[in-house]
Subunit: 438 residues, 2 copies
């Protein structure tokens, strides 16, 4: 394969990104020192993945997943890094743990997801823990072995409640590791456990809001931009939210159109300021939830009045049938990275375990434009594993050399993870989640 292993940044506007990258390189020791003090104040979640969009002039997170899938898409060369990070986080959080039950999503037909679960379980086993898969599937009466396309097999066992503990047959775990984002609500089976649950239930999408995340992120991006002496907008997507929306009943539509229009205006100003010759756009999506359901791209507020029935229906449903009632308006960030002769759009996804960046991959999609979401339901993207790690910045090379571009991804992803850590801290204070004790 003669293809480069790293997508090409197609925009002519590399100036501003080199601007971001060179500021990150110049301040590398300060950045890492700053992160260390941040993690001391607010420990990182167990793990996470961050979707980034790289517009050349701007590099920003657009989604932060605290129950990451896609571990099967990581470069196997960096599995040792994952194993070491798993050892590190468990040592920090619950060093006496020996047995872990991994609670996955109920997507038994999503073979890609099951490959991710198998990879994650394998990494945990290699890190030196007994790990088994405890399924929440309501109709799973007995253990079921699923053979995966990779040839591996995955044993799903029904998770059982016994008093204040969950267990499997002949397996009493010390730790419940959630890989289920709880879009369908908090399962009663997992409430009030004496075992530690990580990440805590309160970080599921049944409690979390994207606007909450990006509110935290905004403050972090400001402080960080101040540290590295850049405009915070270069790393922060503007967002707004408005009240209740009912797309079917057209309630709240005026409000949405109004905010969209305001946001597009301020983006036009920003684009002008930086000499960017593209049309700004706004992404409208569910404030709670994931998997790219109910996502819409708008370049003009009038488009919101002209939605047809199909579009309205699509915006009204999210994962597991939850109705969208709150939406977030987020500045659209162009993805100007392309890969291969067909110039397929590529979007980086960065993986973190504890606060360590352990790898990532690009979602590569031939059929999409640079202003389209690459993580929509049923969408098939090609994963392209990161060729390098994100922790070897090289000041002796050009700011946009590969290790430095990966370092920049890792820095921005950590800012998003820090926002999630602050969400977790805020949630722990208000909910007093019993699983979050010492």
């Amino acid at each position: 394969m003669s293809l480069s292993t790293v997508p090409h940044l197609t925009t002519a506007l590399t100036g501003p990104l080199q601007h971001i990258e060179s500021h990150l390189l110049d301040h590398q020791a300060e950045i890492e020192h700053w992160f260390r003090s941040q993690w001391l104040a607010t420990p990182a979640p167990f793990y996470g993945s961050v979707d980034l969009r790289n517009a050349g002039f701007k590099l920003a997170p657009v989604d932060t997943n605290l129950f990451p899938a896609g571990f099967n898409n990581l470069n196997e060369a960096f599995h040792p890094l994952c194993v070491q990070a798993i050892q590190s986080v468990i040592e920090r959080v619950c060093p006496r743990v020996a047995r872990i039950v991994l609670v996955p999503e109920n997507h038994t037909r999503n073979r890609f997801y099951l490959e991710s679960v198998a990879t994650l379980a394998g990494l945990i086993a290699r890190a030196g823990f007994e790990v088994r898969i405890g399924s929440l599937l309501p109709d799973l009466a007995s253990p079921q072995t699923i053979t995966l396309d990779s040839g591996r097999s995955l044993l799903l066992e029904p998770l059982q409640r016994r008093g204040n503990r969950v267990c499997l047959d002949n397996f009493d775990p010390c730790l419940v590791l959630l890989n289920n984002d709880l879009s369908g609500g908090r399962p009663a089976l997992l409430e009030g456990l004496e075992q530690r649950v990580l990440p805590p239930l309160a970080l599921g999408w049944s409690n979390r809001l994207k606007s909450g995340h990006f509110t935290q992120y905004r403050a972090i991006a400001e402080a960080f931009a101040n540290l590295v002496e850049i405009d915070p907008w270069l790393i922060d997507p503007i967002f707004r939210n408005c009240g209740e929306i009912d797309f079917m009943q057209r309630e709240g539509e005026e409000c949405l159109a109004h905010h969209t229009s305001l946001m597009l205006n301020s983006l036009r100003d920003k684009y002008r300021e930086y000499g960017i010759d593209h049309d700004p756009f706004v992404v409208i999506k569910a404030d709670a939830g994931t998997y790219g359901m109910g996502v819409m791209t708008v370049t003009d507020a009038d488009q919101l009045h002209a939605l047809n029935r199909k579009q309205r229906t699509r915006m009204s449903s999210a994962k597991e049938g939850m109705a969208v009632s709150h939406v977030i308006l987020q500045e659209g960030v162009y993805s100007f990275e392309t890969w291969g002769p067909q110039e397929a759009v590529a979007e980086p996804v960065v993986y973190l375990i504890d606060h360590f960046v352990v790898g990532g991959f690009y979602r590569v999609h031939k059929g999409r434009g640079p202003n389209e979401n690459l993580n929509a339901p049923g969408m098939h993207f090609e994963p392209l594993a990161f060729a390098d790690s994100c922790n070897l910045p090289d000041a002796s090379r050009a700011p946009d050399a590969e290790p430095n571009r990966f370092y920049a991804y890792g820095v921005i992803a950590r800012l998003a993870l820090l926002a999630a850590a602050r969400e977790a801290a805020a949630v722990a204070e208000t909910h007093l989640d019993p699983t979050e004790g010492g």
Copy 2:
């Protein structure tokens, strides 16, 4: 290069090693759980390297270096692992540190060593610290730049004392990282500092004894062998020490010969028990010190009476002119790993940062036999970087498959590191080293 990237284990006696490796694999989760509890009780030193010898029937450490050189010999593919481990250990031990002064050995003519210092400093910088080299060279009046064979350059600056701190021009470090084993004694410049010194001065060879290390190791090997259900001898080299020795004056010679004879007898018993058709041998070396000076291999106690003047002189001097007065008698462990068509002897060296195994390399030496030391003064070995990491054991493959052999190296090396950690704890209790405060 069509050579295998991993040395070949030439012995026909692979049975017993597969025995060790399969027991390690079978108990992997218990082993890692056990290590976690050990590191909680006794934190690992900042870093270390462990020389192993692999006889096929036996896999044992023969030397543990708490001021490792040779970082330049590691596989660059695992630099991310080193960076992550450095971040992890500093976070655990002294999270507020921003500036580090690295204090190297005074070997300015050893270009290999200087390459190691440059690599280590580079890893620390990538981990997000400001790092500079503070030299103890008495005749270094001003900063000196040395250009290395790799094309890199290294800036040595004279380490200065100011009150209770050491510093360089315009650089006030928070942490003094020793890469100098203090064979020449504890430098007054570093005594009583208010800055943290890691590893502490008390772990230099001016305080440490190999017999102290192997006394700790023996107890650890016994507990560990019990856990994984093997004979502790398979991972533990027998040793003995006797009183004062003066090779020139032939004082203590009888005692040495006596202990050598006793040790050879018990080794013959062990070899018979395991059906090993080789002659056992004993290695006699300085109890304090390193660099393979004053090392002698003996297969018969009578050889000690027949030493000529040259051999006596060699045994009487160690690094930096320290006279050898205490020696340790250690069971010789055959190295039955060979590499390449010439079947050069290969000896693994495992690198650890904190308690994480971050890589290693083989010392490959064409001119040596399987019962000879490969780390003697002026000796030129070829480094062969480990092709795999040591933390990806694979139970689905044969016990002697490469990832599993590397895992076994990592386990035995960590046992030796744990012995060093217990030495450090013992030293901290008796010396109350002021640099070892919280």
